[in-house]
Symmetry: C2
């Protein structure tokens, strides 16, 4: 089997304007970035608002394990498979962050014969969205510190600035820093820290905005900290929402690319689902729904993180709920949830472990069924899977009244996803239920919303708040932020906040360490356990393997 | 008179592929970034190596004053004027940095009727070169700190890391910081600081590299600091030159845009001339010389900074010296060098002040004549200039055997630069002298080179070294860096290192505070006086005036 980048380099792409033409987009509707990438003009997007929506398919997964599940791969493969069975399909997924690419992952654009193209551009600077977010976020930081240095007319308390700087890099040394050292002309000293760019509120705003005006309004609403009298200070108070919106205006436009099979794909917006809301942009998904009959989108990590936030944070902004949910699992990862270690993964058939690990998938199926949407399980094929192991998953799914379909999109591309495509279309056609939101943000307090998520989605017992979190809750109620949705920041590896509690843990508590208000994005982040908003690099970063030759051939992205 | 952005928005651009066609570049030679920007493919650039070179015109200026000189404006206008008189001309200038755009400048792409287009893109994210440099620079920083955190196999002394982080933002609070706080899993604490991106060695390398292989080799040569045994540590030791080159491969390709008159222009690379080497990329200038008969390029700030570095640092890499130098001055700025304050600039005719301030221009004329290149003075017209003031400059120039030509490209565009274009062509045609380098880097020590620059270019008396600088000189000799060229970091406002010493100061000393080795770029930076490598924002940043409407119309860039 070839590596991902070898497959990608051997594939002939179509000029993106030809791909766009299949969606009735003209060259005038596009801003080309080379031959194979384009942004869709915001004016064209605005002109589509009266068109009917296609069907929306959300791809999610069980809690990830080191064995790998292949959620992005299934997302891409399902798009190709729907095209293959004659449907007008389009993909709307997230764009990768450079930090993990240089760290562990080495790239993220699907895999095998289910990839979006040009994968090496998508994995590097792409169309510059991440860089625009970094620049916008940090320009705001510089303007805040400059405001304080130049007399602090707004009376900002430098000990209570919640706006952090960001870089699209895994850089643990920047988590906790002291800035403004060196004497009076070098700024006002204070504690600060960098998050990874995808955790920036600017990223969340990009992903939730429905227009340039909405973007500017949300940027104006951002709370950057508090005055010495504990009054929230907004970007609007600083009078820089215009300049920051200017920096973001190109980034707001969705990026159009293609799969290996030339299925059109939006790759736009990329918040992580463990520390942010984990969904691609509302504008890309909305536009895809206008342009295609079936739109396949994904949400990050397991269904406890990305899918929950899709349903409870993104759906209200999108104005549309999924017509079907696909949950991705593999025999290997179910085995790991059943207690098998990485090194024992290749020790032959182990039906009992698969059955034991199924509890994790079962919980995610139940969770998605709570929302009233039809569920299909995609069992992503690995060569070592045995017939008995597969049969165990299929029959356990059947007991949950869910079809479990084997997919082989990684090895066989569109053909390998045909059965899944047919099952998803059938599930949509036969569905009679209506979408049931987990909570209505305006109707409950932050504590009530968190309790709902913890008990109904995670399967936990109760919620413990730190002293800091309790103080913040009182303050937020006073500020009128109590009726916002909650964005949980939690480990992706477990349904609980303990990453070692695999399978389906029970009787656990969730500890809320503190909150971060993201008033521009329109939600409050709850930090659980010891979740970090700036990752670190591993001992052997993926960067060590990367190279490029004189004529521009890239190696080491995969 | 309209503002720059109003003129720009009223102007109809040609699709960049049509502009490229006038240079015999096909669509296959281009990577489009929207309709009006393109990068030229490195393969096309490599294929041009055997073509004959056109004539090279370097535009420089007197020491800048608050009155403004208009060097970029004259650069652009001269390109348009040469086209107007029937020459095949092309411009090769630097790309602006976002930091000053949000700070004082509010944009930089020429002005009035001498602008490069699309000015609002060029002033914002453009084709992402600055962001690529920021990402590359900071990925290296993260890899260094991670190396130390993960066991420090290379024995790097965290107190002696010279590689700093960068952002393309004016942010004084990041000049002096402490990183790695928070305990053992958050990194190793150490002092650090951010420079502005244009000061990054990666920027210098981008601007001096002649191929992707050269770029990779230079990146490998970067010295990031020292071991506990004082041995220099390179990027090659860290084994990440491949990954960093990968991040820079698109940025290396020159950006093609156009003027208001559709003259083709490369806008590529943007080091400041006060803290870096101040010239656009060798690759853009080289390529322009292959594509056009006359190439107009500029170097930053006064001729003591940008032009000196052009001659002594860029020319050896470019393999070609200028065929003519244009020095830009204005009556207003000469008056300021003659002692007039900003508020008295509009108090009527003052021939004596003009004559007194001419000493600054005179020194720059003498300096450029030292290099054996023909010099033309461009007197950039302002409405309040009187005939007697202009005549004073013309006759003082004549005494230096230099033509002084009035230009009105800001108000009249190409037509306003015709006389200058004719004078420059004539100066080139009649020139019989050969280029004389100021120094040959390999033949002298760092101290000898600095003495040459200080006495022959600045007109100073002698050089004082701090204790730190003296220690560094000893170390650099041991490391074999003594034969590299020197890149002076000095205030732009004076020929001396005291920004208040305007006009033509004499009998002054230059103090070298410390050195920064830029072994990948291939030079040693000498920091004089209190020059800062990270600017700050002013009390009322330009950002406060910027905005964008729902349909994407931009205001406040000028």
């Amino acid at each position: 089997m070839k590596t991902d980048i070898e497959i990608a380099q051997a594939n002939e792409m179509l000029p993106i304007k030809e791909v766009a033409a299949t969606l009735s987009l003209t060259e005038d509707d596009l801003k080309l970035y080379g031959k194979y990438k384009a942004k869709v003009d915001i004016k064209k997007i605005n002109s589509l608002s009266e068109e009917a929506d296609g069907k929306l398919i959300l791809v999610t997964a069980i809690n990830p394990t080191p064995a790998g599940e292949g959620k992005s791969t299934v997302t891409v493969g399902l798009g190709d498979a729907l095209t293959r069975i004659g449907k007008k399909a389009m993909i709307a997924m997230r764009e990768p962050s450079l930090g993990p690419t240089m760290g562990v992952k080495g790239g993220a654009a699907g895999g095998g014969y289910a990839q979006v193209q040009p994968m090496q551009d998508i994995n590097l600077h792409f169309t510059g969205d991440m860089h625009a977010i970094t620049a916008t976020n940090n320009t705001l930081s510089a303007l805040i510190d400059n405001h304080i240095q130049q007399g602090n007319a707004l009376n900002i308390d430098q000990r209570r600035i919640t706006w952090k700087r960001v870089l699209d890099i895994n850089d643990r040394a920047l988590r906790n820093i002291v800035i403004g050292l060196g004497g009076p002309i070098q700024g006002v000293p204070r504690q600060d820290g960098f998050d990874i760019t995808v955790a920036s509120e600017i990223m969340a705003i990009l992903c939730l905005s429905t227009s340039l005006t909405d973007l500017k309004n949300r940027i104006g609403n951002i709370v950057i900290g508090y005055t010495f009298d504990r009054v929230p200070v907004t970007v609007r108070d600083l009078k820089v929402e215009g300049a920051l919106t200017l920096l973001m205006k190109d980034a707001l436009e969705p990026n159009l690319v293609q799969t290996l099979y030339h299925t059109p794909a939006f790759v736009h917006g990329g918040p992580f689902a463990n520390i942010a809301h984990g969904c691609n942009s509302v504008l890309a998904t909305k536009t895809a729904l206008k342009l295609a009959d079936y739109v396949i989108t994904e949400a990050g990590f397991g269904a406890d993180l990305g899918a929950e936030k899709f349903m409870d944070i993104k759906v209200p902004q999108l104005g549309k709920s999924p017509d079907a949910v696909v949950i991705v699992a593999t025999v290997r990862s179910l085995k790991m949830h059943g207690g098998v270690s990485v090194k024992d993964l290749n020790s032959g058939e182990n039906v009992e472990a698969v059955k034991a690990g199924f509890t994790n998938l079962q919980k995610h199926i139940e969770n998605m069924q709570q929302y009233g949407v039809p569920v299909v399980v995609a069992l992503n094929e690995f060569t070592n899977d045995t017939a008995a192991e597969i049969e165990a998953v299929v029959s356990l799914c059947a007991a949950q009244e869910v079809e479990c379909i084997q997919t082989a999109v990684w090895a066989k591309g569109a053909e390998g996803g045909e059965a899944l495509a047919n099952a998803v279309v059938k599930a949509i056609d036969e569905n009679t239920k209506a979408f049931v939101p987990l909570y209505v943000a305006e109707d409950s307090s932050i504590e009530e919303k968190i309790e709902t998520i913890v008990t109904k989605i995670y399967g936990g017992k109760s919620v413990i708040y730190s002293k800091e979190a309790k103080n913040q809750l009182r303050q937020y109620k006073k500020n009128g932020w109590d009726r916002l949705p909650v964005c949980m920041a939690k480990t992706q590896y477990s349904l609980s906040d303990d990453q070692k509690a695999i399978g389906r843990p029970e009787n656990f508590d969730i500890t809320i360490r503190s909150f971060v208000p993201k008033i521009g994005a329109g939600f409050v982040v709850a930090l659980t356990g010891d979740i970090l908003t700036m990752p670190g690099l591993p001992k052997e970063p993926a960067a060590l393997r990367m190279d490029v030759t004189e004529d521009g051939v890239v190696t080491g992205l995969f």
